[in-house]
Amino acid sequence: MAVTLDQTIAQKQRNWLASIVGGQTFWVLIAVILACLFLSAATDSFATAKNLYNITRNVTFVAIIALGMTLVIITGGIDLSVGSVLCLCSMVLAVVMHAGYSIEVGIAASIGTALVIGAFNGVLIAYLDFPPFVVTLGMLSIARSLAMVASNNTVVFQFGPDHDTLLALGGGAWFLGIANPVLYMIILALLTGFVLRWTRFGRYVFAIGGNEHAATLTGVPVRRIKVAVYMISALSAGVAGIVQTGWLGAVTTNIGAGMELQVIAAAVIGGANLAGGVGTALGALVGAALIEVIRNSLGLLGINAFWQGTFIGGAIVLAVLFDRIRNFRQSE
């Protein structure tokens, strides 16, 4: 048979439909949609504009950080410090603005803090070969402690001259009645998706997760990319912190506690593989959405508060089950 070069080049193992249906992200998306349909039918209160506004907004904070976390996970790393970094960045923003500086200064200070922390994590991990788990676990403790130091452990709820701007930033809905945080999330997700698919940086992130040794041998600047990835992760936590501060209108040293596990769960449920090499921006969103829809539904359905943890935990496990069953069938 004479196969032309074009045919060979065009050929794929699976067409795009098959490769979408083959992914965990797809199945979780289906689960989210089914859950929404069910809730719309079963309760009066789910499919209301108000409730949808709320759950889309609630999803954003975990989702934004999950975008950064997805990059880290694709390289085969992990970042446990994001919850504390969110807290520290919120606190820096709050303290700076409370001291009378403008919102620009506050945001710059907050973002700067995030980048320094990310760089610290990244350098230890990439250049000194520290295990990511240990470095970021240490940072989990350090960043929250610094937040207490920065704020003297008080609740900050007055943000100086630009108080209202900040609240509008996080709590408003400037466009088509969609909550602002949702807009940021969508923009960031598109950006992340673009970077992963269309830039050399994104390509390197996947290469490192696929085979770090090979990436090093072929001249990928592995260490610099890794540092960048941890900086992005911290940055995403910082951005989420800024937006969340605008939404909450008050910062305490408690915020973001335990968030790291939620964020990692979102990324993993969305299809990122903790062994590295696999993950998508869409997956991060879908994973975060699933968790939020379940959380929201438990309240709406009037499920006993004590049992809620069982449902949420069960859903986390079930989310992966789809994918497992499919894999299992395929292998035998």
Binding site: T8, I9, N211, A214, A215, L217
Partner: protein, 246 residues
């Protein structure tokens, strides 16, 4: 004139002296077989030439000018290509992505450049065709057979007009048919005037295709002579140490 000239190159890892005071030169259009026991230092030697390691001692001259390389990219800029022993492939990427790893093609204007998938698929497809390999550019490396993986690794060396191609055991664990193809490919590179270093444990391969043979033993060069002046028996003796030095 020699394309590449190594003078008194050594490399140690902590206490291990992997390569010890080796001098050699590569000529354009010549295939050099590099042989030696496991751990003799063959891979270490070619990795230094490819910019993966920096020599602990000694100098390298390319076309007469001394070069010091810090990164594999620099070696490639000098026209030095390598096929690694473990192939250095990322299983989660496509064949084309692996071929272009570290030198992705991009398009766009100014700093706003995006990956040029189309051109990369096309170029990779062309190279596979040249290599007479059935590998398809969009396939994931994960699902590929040994021969296909080998083809991907070799295809990397053909991206740019190389002066020197280093091949670290390209024929281990691939089938008879594919060995013949790789050897053909080596001949073709030679005919284009490229200097080729072929590391192999397979005596027949080296004697089929090489013009010169170099033998390392425990990091030292113990032989460097035209293939016609040697014999498989002599080389075996040199590798095992039955013959001390020639």
């Amino acid at each position: 004139m020699a394309v590449l000239e190594l003078t008194n190159i050594s490399k140690h890892f902590g206490a291990i002296q992997a390569v010890n005071d080796v001098s050699l030169s590569l000529e354009a259009g010549q295939v050099v077989g590099l042989m030696g026991d496991n751990g003799a230092g063959k891979s270490t030697l070619v990795k230094m030439i490819a910019g993966n390691f920096r020599p602990s001692e000694g100098t390298m001259r390319l076309d007469g000018a001394e070069i010091v390389m810090h990164r594999p990219v620099e070696a490639r800029q000098h026209g030095i290509e390598i096929v690694h022993q473990d192939l250095a492939l990322c299983n989660n990427l496509t064949a084309a992505a692996n071929v272009f790893l570290g030198r992705e093609l991009r398009r766009g204007i100014g700093p706003l450049k995006v990956l040029d998938y189309k051109t990369m698929y096309r170029r990779a497809g062309e190279i596979f065709r040249e290599l007479k390999s059935e590998t398809r550019p969009r396939d994931l490396v994960r699902q590929m057979s040994g021969g296909q993986r080998q083809a991907v690794a070799i295809a990397r060396t053909m991206l740019s007009e190389a002066k020197i191609v280093l091949m670290d055991e390209p024929t281990a664990a691939i089938s008879v048919r594919q060995v013949a193809e790789v050897l053909n490919l080596i001949r073709e590179l030679r005919d284009r005037g490229i200097a080729v270093v072929l590391i192999s444990h397979r005596m027949p391969d080296v004697f089929t295709v090489a013009d010169r043979v170099i033998v390392l033993r425990r990091g030292r060069k113990v032989a460097d002579k035209p293939i016609t002046a040697s014999s498989p028996e002599e080389v075996t003796g040199l590798i095992t140490g039955a013959i001390e030095q020639v």
